[in-house]
């Protein structure tokens, strides 16, 4: 029985899988109410359900063809808020892709799609 318990733990170590969803999720973002206007730099505020470690987080602008551009980020006024500096964009479809490290130790990757109108 003891050997079997050891075997159980060893195989468990091989079998554990990783959950897709992580703890930090977006609860709100400013693009819902304030779309980005064409050809002028702007800021996007993303609100998370958890505290975020800013120094260990990255936010990218994704353009057509899935090219990535690293964006500057800062802390928002409220806890769990990130302010993302978005460069001047031409009309079209884009996405903000982020990799954030939540205070509970989980890394989260997700995407927010948006469009820039003329």
């Amino acid at each position: 029985m003891k050997a079997l318990l050891k075997l159980c733990l060893m195989v468990l170590a091989l079998c554990q899988a990783n959950p897709a969803a992580a703890h930090a999720v977006v609860t709100d973002y400013s693009l819902k109410m304030q779309p980005i206007r064409a050809n002028r730099p702007d800021k996007v505020v993303i609100t998370f359900n958890s505290r975020i470690e800013l120094g260990l987080s990255q936010v990218f602008l994704v353009r057509k063809g899935d090219t990535h551009e690293l964006l500057k980020i800062g802390n928002g006024e409220k806890q769990g808020q990130l302010i993302v500096e978005v460069p001047a964009l031409e009309p079209g479809d884009y996405a903000i892709k982020f990799k954030v490290f939540a205070a509970d130790g989980h890394l989260t990757e997700d995407v927010i799609h948006f469009s820039v109108a003329q």
């Binding site: 029985m1 003891k2 079997l4 318990l5 075997l7 159980c8 733990l9 195989v11 468990l12 170590a13 091989l14 079998c15 554990q16 899988a17 990783n18 959950p19 897709a20 969803a21 992580a22 703890h23 930090a24 999720v25 609860t27 359900n49 958890s50 505290r51 470690e53 120094g55 260990l56 990255q58 994704v62 353009r63 057509k64 063809g65 899935d66 806890q79 769990g80 479809d93 884009y94 996405a95 892709k97 990799k99 490290f101 939540a102 205070a103 509970d104 130790g105 989980h106 890394l107 990757e109 995407v111 799609h113």
Partner: protein
């Protein structure tokens, strides 16, 4: 290597909880169940030594797990962020809390190994051990789900620690019961200690479960505020799995308690010695799975935070709706053609071929399991006529279906990777957590079939070989319970997860049923065997009716 780092990161959470339970549960066991200072019960040196060995080993393993967690986080962040995460990581709660907890666990384990062990019968030293372990328990508060929350943070952290403490008291106690049975089995302790400690633990276990529920309920109510949140999110779904596993474990605990009470009335220890140890083994299976499920739950966003991504109960029920299984597959060319659009970020195009490919895989796997469970049921019957004798003799090898299923999954699981697709075997295995899980599951299914066939051969002389089947089936269940589906929208990923977690629970029932069938005498043996096969049949049905969302 991000895939393997991510995979290991999530597994270590479960191992960390197991080590915590072993350490803290053993401490509670000594303080409240064993009470070595009450010498009249006749504990001997071997008994006390093995008890304390489990305690301090749990502490050292916990320190190791905590340290490994930090190393993995560094590895994972380096892989994901593509840069060295220091000095920023050094100032995070995870790093500071993890490092402190590592040191505290080492100190507590060291005390128990060198001081408590030398004074095993001293009440003062047991109390001192608990005081030394207390900071380890408290430090865990900064490493849980609640640490990153904004509302009711302190309350949630405190409740989570209380919840962990209750779980450790119960599960660690079960580990100690296994130890007591082994000592009893080998004749290293007095025979009457087994029923005596069972009875004491029965009362202690009920108190632990009560605390588990009292501390768990407010946490659940804080994170889940609607019925849809319970049935329609990953968090709620895994919580329901935890409740289901808890119910299964409590059912076995209830059987143990009945046996103890019956012994108290009749004085006949046969049931205590011939059934209870195996109920405890099965309970151990379930409780270990429960801990890994709890670790997975900690990485799910609470239902309260994702109202727009919550499925309603009709959508959840829809995933189990009977349908004609898909028995034709799209071509591999059609599948690959749709992959670029499917994985694109801008201009994503859902791939019908990918969805149908997946439906075909799941439905065929379901047909495999349903047919296997049918033959498994037949194998319990006697041949009705002489000309059918050979047939009835051969259907006991129904697990051969697992071998075929393993081969099928090897070729079909991840069509974009080797052997069918352009992505190399090692590259896909170690860079994609989902592919890695599929590879392990495929190997598990294949090995399960091979070993079980070997175990059923008349030439098999190894009495332990049949036990491998339930063990591997339990691990398969664990994988299903924690399996992830990346690349889907959160709601779709959840709707896929629902079927997989249901199968995970059935896989665990299959495993524990088979385990008890191999260990118990009639009639318990037959009941357990039937339950086991019925669970396999249910898994077959879920897979056969599987339909993947197209987004």
């Amino acid at each position: 290597m991000a895939g393997i780092a991510d995979f290991l990161d999530s597994l270590i959470g479960g191992l960390d909880l197991i080590c915590f339970c072993l350490m803290v549960g053993s401490l509670f066991w000594g303080l409240f169940v064993l009470r070595p200072w009450e010498r009249q019960h006749g504990y001997n040196a071997v008994h006390l030594d093995t008890t304390i060995t489990l305690l301090y080993k749990g502490g050292f393993y916990l320190a190791g797990a905590q340290l490994f967690k930090i190393v993995l986080k560094v590895w994972l962040m380096t892989a994901v962020l593509e840069r060295w995460p220091f000095p920023e990581f050094a100032s995070t709660t995870q790093f500071i809390g993890g490092a402190i907890r590592t040191v505290l666990a080492l100190a507590a384990a060291f005390y128990c190994q060198h001081i408590l062990r030398a004074h095993a019968e001293s009440k003062a030293h047991w109390i001192a051990a608990s005081l030394v372990t207390l900071p380890v328990i408290i430090s865990g508060a900064w490493l849980v789900h609640a640490a990153g929350r904004f509302d009711n943070r302190v309350m949630l952290m405190s409740l989570t620690v209380a919840h962990q403490l209750a779980a450790a008291a119960w599960i660690g106690g079960v580990f100690q019961l296994v130890n007591v049975w082994l000592l009893r089995y080998r004749g290293q302790i007095q025979a009457d200690l087994w029923p005596f400690l069972l009875k004491r633990f029965s009362i202690f276990g009920m108190a632990s479960v009560s605390l588990l529920l009292i501390s768990g309920a407010p946490i659940a109510l804080q994170y889940i505020t609607t019925w849809n949140g319970l049935v329609g999110t990953g968090y709620g779904n895994l919580l329901m799995v935890k409740i289901a596993l808890l119910s299964l474990a409590l059912g076995l605990a209830w059987l143990n308690r009945n046996a103890v009470l019956a012994y108290g009335i009749s004085g006949d220890p046969s049931h205590l010695n011939r059934s209870v140890p195996y109920y405890i083994e099965a309970e151990t299976f379930i409780l270990i799975t429960l801990l890994f499920t709890a670790a997975s739950l900690a990485s799910q966003p609470p239902a309260i935070d994702i109202p727009s991504l919550t499925a309603n109960w009709q959508e959840v029920l829809g995933t189990f709706k009977p349908a004609i299984p898909r028995t034709t597959s799209p071509t591999h060319t059609a599948l690959i053609a749709g992959e670029a659009g499917r994985v694109a970020i801008i201009g994503q195009v859902p791939s019908i071929a990918a969805t149908e490919w997946s439906n075909y895989n799941h439905n065929i796997a379901g047909i495999f399991l349903t047919v296997m469970s049918f033959f498994a049921m037949l194998s319990y019957l006697k041949s009705p006529a002489p000309f059918l004798d050979r047939f009835f003799e051969s259907i006991k090898f129904w697990p051969f279906g697992f071998v075929l299923l393993g081969i099928f999954l090897f070729f079909r699981s991840d069509a974009e990777t080797w052997p069918l697709g352009p992505i190399g075997f090692w590259e896909s295995t170690f860079n994609n957590g989902e592919v890695l899980q599929h590879r392990i599951a495929t190997l598990l299914v294949f090995v399960l079939g091979v070993i079980e066939i070997r175990a059923r051969m008349q030439s098999n002389q190894n009495p332990r070989l049949p036990l491998v089947f339930p063990v591997l089936a339990a691990f398969g269940g664990l994988m299903l319970l924690t399996h992830s589906h990346v690349g889907f929208q959160a709601k779709s990923a959840f709707l896929i997860q629902v079927g997989h977690t249901a199968m995970g629970v059935f896989a665990l029932i299959l495993a524990t049923g088979r385990w008890l069938e191999l260990k118990l005498d009639k009639p318990g043996k037959d009941i357990a065997g039937f339950v086991s096969v019925a669970a396999l049949f249910q898994m077959g049905l879920i897979l056969m009716f599987y339909r993947e969302p197209l987004y």
